[in-house]
Symmetry: C2
Subunit: 328 residues, 2 copies
């Protein structure tokens, strides 16, 4: 199995990316193709010892930054690591692409070069949301900010296949993010999406209010990219600010500091529980190829986890299953 | 000062409402008019000793529940505690109305019976969001799920007056909830709202990503009611689930349990920090009267805090100031 990794994408690229890739090739039965500025990649790889035959480099002369417009990347940066990496997937033997870089550019390049699978109009990014017990799969979290109601039905279909395949859950339930429990709540968009899901989606369980996302109300949760993005960024911001307030409080109280030491394991568990980046990358579903988008702040561990998640998708032949399910 | 309180609204009404009202009249220079089913209110009041002249009862025969449609309440439940309570504000001597009941019904009744202040098209609900240092005022969190872009400008104007008046902040900054930092991010709606705010709003600081809401990027943050509601419900759900996971973990580890005891103060501070219901009710801004909406799960303390917050609005003549600022 060979996975293509964007060496230049992310806040700590290429350092963190390459550190994660080296860990992955040591641990997993996988070959990695690093795409990016060859001299920089070589410079970083020098620091590590690893099985040389498991990492190859494909040079790409341009780098996309977080301020580049997605459409500009397609038109102007044709030799950037995202474009080159995505296009490698069209060659047999390259199984998946991972980037922690500009999300919009990844979505645009994947859609443009790989095209959509039949029956899906727009790609969606899914993430596993940690719940008190288990996980929910939330899609979309930012690929499609202004979807049509039927796109949410397509997201639901793909989410079910993903959760069935990757999590081994037989009949995953599907819910719609909405700001009220009953049918008829929300804006016109949510009312229409509810109707389509009600009519066509197996195991549709109705509206899921944002506070219910963290308890086991539905296995798959669909939303607009705008709202999904608000949910994950709100969670991220709240955990960070709560952690800052806690740390400050602990510094003020010596007994609390002792308490924190004793609780270290439990506190770390909470942090890990709430930190979805721990769970590797977020799959970009709907495009005709396995693409995984990682958080811009990805640690080496997050990159390693994203590689493992991509490997799982390849093993499970997720694209074939998704095609069969969406058309069927 | 006389404040009208809906005795029948909320998950634990009338018990929690009346307990909170009794605490308030003992502590604050305020008279309360409880609106609701007189026999039930009397039954609960019997349990307490309090200055009798500070609580009066106005009977309302009907009760609104959480499943009632807002418009049905206006048309059919004309003698419910919300309708009767809101209408009391039209009589001189009744200064504010507080309800922990059906939010949609409160918004609809307030809009219908009190009308809007000049220059504001739609009401908005504001909440104080606890930040690492201080607070931000987020509006709207659920009154207006499908606003026009110019409504967000009006929310910004009202939020500034509120923060200036109630928090004593001289030139509050205003930000727009969006899923990207730069101008041009988000859906068509956000792009239009950005333009209007950029052109007309003093101290506009641009987009605020949801993770930045908890740090001091802007004093006032405007959003659609849908997105604002998603933000507060996501925060609520995440804190609850994190707290459950932590408790479970503590039970498993005896040392962590000891640690938790030592950290009790600090942990309570986090909980309080993140629990916006602690800060009393959420003002419904834009209607021609002081209306405060409390969380359905309000504790007696939350009701008492809402009464104090309403008193502050009355003292500061918030409606007059808002009228002057919005027209001006």
């Amino acid at each position: 199995m060979r996975i293509v990794v964007d060496a230049m994408g992310g806040d700590h690229a290429p350092a963190n990316i390459i550190a994660g890739v080296v860990e992955a090739v040591k641990e997993f039965p996988v070959t990695i193709t690093l795409v990016g500025i060859e001299s920089q990649i070589k410079e970083h790889l020098k620091k590590y010892s690893y099985p040389k035959e498991k990492i190859e480099i494909v040079h790409a002369s341009e780098v996309v930054d977080m301020h580049d417009q997605a459409t500009d990347v397609i038109r102007k940066k044709k030799d950037c690591s995202i474009t080159v990496g995505v296009n490698l997937l069209k060659t047999p033997g390259y199984d998946a692409f991972i980037s922690a870089g500009n999300t919009g550019a990844c979505v645009a390049a994947s859609t443009f070069y790989l095209r959509m699978i039949e029956g899906v109009d727009r790609p969606g990014i899914g993430v596993f949301i940690p719940q008190v017990d288990g996980f929910a799969f939330l899609i979309d979290v930012g690929a499609n900010t202004e979807p049509k109601p039927e796109h949410l039905y397509q997201y639901g279909q793909m989410a079910r296949v993903y959760v069935q395949t990757v999590m081994g859950k037989k009949s995953p339930t599907v819910g719609l993010v909405n700001i009220g429990e009953e049918e008829g709540k929300g804006s016109g968009f949510e009312k229409q999406a509810y109707q389509i899901l009600q009519d066509k989606m197996p195991d549709f369980v109705g509206n899921v209010e944002p506070n219910e996302i963290f308890v086991s109300k539905a296995d798959c949760i669909v939303s607009t990219g705008f709202v999904g993005n608000v949910i994950i960024k709100t969670s991220e911001g709240l955990m960070e600010s709560a952690s800052k307030v806690l740390k400050r409080q602990i510094k003020k109280e010596p007994l609390a500091m002792l308490g924190a030491l004793l609780m270290m394991g439990a506190l770390k568990k909470i942090k890990k529980h709430a930190d979805y980046s721990e769970y590797g990358g977020a799959p970009l579903l709907g495009v005709n190829g396995i693409v995984m988008i990682s958080h811009g702040r990805s640690s080496p561990k997050a990159i390693k986890n994203a590689i493992r998640a991509a490997m799982r998708e390849v093993e499970h032949k997720i694209i074939d299953k998704m095609k069969a399910a969406v058309i069927g």
